[in-house]
């Protein structure tokens, strides 16, 4: 990975109220020439991942890592935060990513997630990751192999020009 491929690198405070400023910064930082849909989508992806990190992450490390970069024809956003290895929230995140990836299409995953929300109004969490896959058009993966840390990667094709994706 060339350093020049990194579009944005931030250590983000665990501050709920600061998420929108980062969402807007990510959208602005998407490569020059990217279409508006890609910018909006990556901003949303950053916001949903940061929300999860703020809500479910641990206080150490104090800050959340966020990296936006180009990788060949794709654009990739990685959010990394501290996590308790035995946390049920970590298990839920890993399960949710696997659940999403098991569907034949992002739309099927999203509709199934909305059906769950409809059927169980009190159920917690879970729609953000599915939104990233469906609305954000991203493939999502999750790495919890380093003790005390979890990173979530969302990647999509970089669409350039003014047309819809």
């Amino acid at each position: 990975m060339n350093k020049s491929d990194v579009l944005l690198e931030r250590r983000v405070p665990r501050d709920w109220d600061g998420i929108d400023a980062i969402r807007e910064e990510v959208a602005r930082s998407v490569a020059a020439g990217a279409d508006e849909d890609t910018r909006e989508a990556m901003g949303m992806v950053a916001a949903e991942l940061l929300e999860n990190a703020v809500k479910f992450g641990t206080a150490r490390p104090e800050e959340i890592g966020l990296t936006l970069r180009l990788d060949g024809p794709d654009i990739e956003l990685v959010v990394e935060n501290g996590v308790d290895p035995g946390s049920p929230d970590l298990r839920s995140l890993l399960d949710r990513v696997a659940w999403c990836n098991a569907f034949a299409s992002p739309e099927e995953a999203y509709m199934a997630a909305l059906a769950d929300v409809y059927a169980q109004p009190s159920a917690r969490g879970g729609l953000g990751i599915v939104r990233i896959v469906y609305e954000g058009g991203c493939r999502v993966s999750c790495d919890a192999s380093r003790p005390g840390l979890v990173s979530v990667t969302a990647r999509r094709a970089l669409v350039t020009g003014g047309g819809a994706s």
Binding site: M44, E107, L114, G128
Partner: protein, 134 residues
């Protein structure tokens, strides 16, 4: 019969219940909910109850000024549709006015249709541009 006029400011989100003659809920700004959107759920439940009690035929939700909504807040709209369809006393339909320039609204609305069935109408309309005085 109409909804009582009230205005709620929550962070950078602004909600006006009973706008535009009393049957519209205008939501603008950024809706970023924590904790499963408890206050928003309560607001939706209140609006639903008022619409049922006052035998409204339609409630309009105008989202054209809403620039961003997180997944937690979005769940509240799904749950509104559940309230609407499962409450035998509810006679009203929901008309959502979305902004076609906000892609997330277009994509999200398309999925919502499946849950609203014939009780949900979605209009895509750009925000009104104030007329320049002559």
């Amino acid at each position: 019969m109409k909804l009582d006029l009230r205005e709620i400011q929550r962070g950078s989100a602004r909600i006006v219940v009973g706008a535009q003659g009393g049957r519209t809920v205008e939501i603008s700004g950024i809706l970023r909910e924590h904790d499963e959107g408890l206050w928003l759920k309560m607001l939706v439940t209140d609006i639903h109850a008022a619409a049922v009690e006052r035998r409204l035929e339609e409630v309009t939700v105008d989202l054209r000024g809403l620039t961003y909504c997180n997944a937690t807040a979005w769940k509240c709209f799904v749950q509104w549709l559940r309230l609407l369809r499962e409450d035998a006393a509810a006679r009203y339909g929901l008309r959502v006015i979305s902004n076609p320039d906000q892609r997330w609204q277009l994509v999200g609305m398309a999925a919502l249709r499946a849950f609203g069935a014939d009780r949900l109408v979605i209009d895509h309309r750009r925000p009104d541009v104030p007329r320049r005085p002559r």
